[in-house]
Subunit: 359 residues, 2 copies
Amino acid sequence: MVTIVNAPSLPSAAAAAAAETPDAGPSSTHRVALDALLDLVGDDLTRVNQTILDRMHSPIALIPQLAGHIVAAGGKRLRPLLTLAAARLVGYEGDRHISLAACIEFLHTATLLHDDVVDESDKRRGRDTANAIWGNKPSVLVGDFLFARAFELMVEDGSLEVMGILARASAVISEGEIHQLLTSNNIETVEEDYIQVVGAKTAALFAAATRIGGVAAERPRAELDALDAYGRNLGIAFQITDDFLDYSAREAELGKSIGDDFRDGKLTLPVIHAIAHGDDEERAFWRRCLEEQDFSDPHGEADLAHAMTLLARHGALEETVRRAHAYAEAARRALDIFPDSRIKTILTEVVDFSVERAY
Amino acid sequence: MVTIVNAPSLPSAAAAAAAETPDAGPSSTHRVALDALLDLVGDDLTRVNQTILDRMHSPIALIPQLAGHIVAAGGKRLRPLLTLAAARLVGYEGDRHISLAACIEFLHTATLLHDDVVDESDKRRGRDTANAIWGNKPSVLVGDFLFARAFELMVEDGSLEVMGILARASAVISEGEIHQLLTSNNIETVEEDYIQVVGAKTAALFAAATRIGGVAAERPRAELDALDAYGRNLGIAFQITDDFLDYSAREAELGKSIGDDFRDGKLTLPVIHAIAHGDDEERAFWRRCLEEQDFSDPHGEADLAHAMTLLARHGALEETVRRAHAYAEAARRALDIFPDSRIKTILTEVVDFSVERAY
């Protein structure tokens, strides 16, 4: 009954770069950073994509169909690129980074599938989510499959150290996701909670992605820790910027919707800052919108406009950008122990991209 | 904001045995098999339970709360018991089987959490499911956490062979679950599909559980394969019996509801057999009930009664029991290569229990 179909094709490195940089506006300098990274490790990324295609195969045709939908959805491949780049930075010349980068993408994809189920999302990057097309059930189970497949790849790689890093990261990611559930719709959430959530749900995989690039090359502990710190701080800067963009005028200028987090009642850094500095009346407003999700018009437009006013009143967006830049600076500094090189320059520019991108 | 709470306590080995054997009726002989197994490895099981408690800890209090709810729900601990028993059978004297058995239970629990979300179940063993209490979101994410934690335990154990076995089993289990989704509500499903589904979703973990007991003891390949065959055939026999019981008069006598699979449109062995031997009119009946889920009364009672008549007409329940016994016999035979011992006798009786239990 079950037939095997060809797995969907994946975008080439060049197409991935183009998909990731739809605008040549304010971020064009940083587009250069990602292009340069793809120039340097594009051949490796092609091999990673092939490994992903090969290893999401299953006699159950729905698995490569559904997994292919999300894997081919035009993501940046930022996390596997970080593994490739880290390996390059430390002069690694073997092949292990290819399958390790594929592992990272599998873990990330599994997380996205489960996230979309948990968030009841119907769109990701403008396309229908897997759960919107196939329903929650296969999305949960294909996520499980990809997670297991990632560990199979690790076993083939054969490093207990890598496996320990990625098993730990996986546990931390789910802790972060659960912690985030608990902060949602809760205006008592403070910045410390937020940074813990972001450090776990986003930055743990960035840190693991860069660290295992160094582990593949069997580099000394100090270099592994530096790669870890680079990835971790980059990941936090990246996520803070994501959360900033949801309230950003620049996002609105690009024709993207803003305020999704507001309508979902997510406690991200901009609102946490505004709440911390607001008076009782403002607090009542945030409670009504974020906790009770009781909006004064059907789409919450008037409330979002008022929220933007409060964010401006307290300089919350500027403060959010400042935080992102502080983590970005820590990421850059983490690279200090490595000698100057083309790839080191590019990794520095990737940090700039992470905080200055408009998408 | 997040506070740490004490993890819930787990039932003792004796309480677990009692919980699993609520009736002293037709299964009392087989209750003796499980009691005997608990007598032999009860101390080990106590240590497994302690490891489970220790390792489901997280600073996010919801994790041990939710995981504890399902872990402590009075399951048989059959799968971890199989790891302990397999290790005992091959004369293992170390400690690795304790954490490996805990791994198996974590993987099983993760699967149950996701299953209950996928099946939209609100009861398991008569108690509210985690998703019924806390919702789908934390159930999916705590499942992910337990899965990751299982791999952390494997890394600590340090055997790539064990990790390979369990990563592979995990991938196969999710393939089986997805395959099962595709057979649901599809009366074209044939016995081969069913056996593939059961072999993957249930028997793969039984086989892995017994095999790693032998791996811990570093036994030769032939013994590992025998343990694997024992677990695999036992698992298939166990699941076929489960599916039989859903249409069993004995189940009804015990006051348990029957026909859940019928109402859900699951293509289990009894109906697959009846459909294969039915005429066009019967086929139309099965299509209406199982595919279209269009019942003639609100709870499908009249249709269930007719389904039972059709099962009886084609001897489908007897045939199902015959199949279960054939797999049970294969499980028993797999033990032939091991010298006679008390634990071997008990493992044989566990097979009898799996096909003759009334619960």
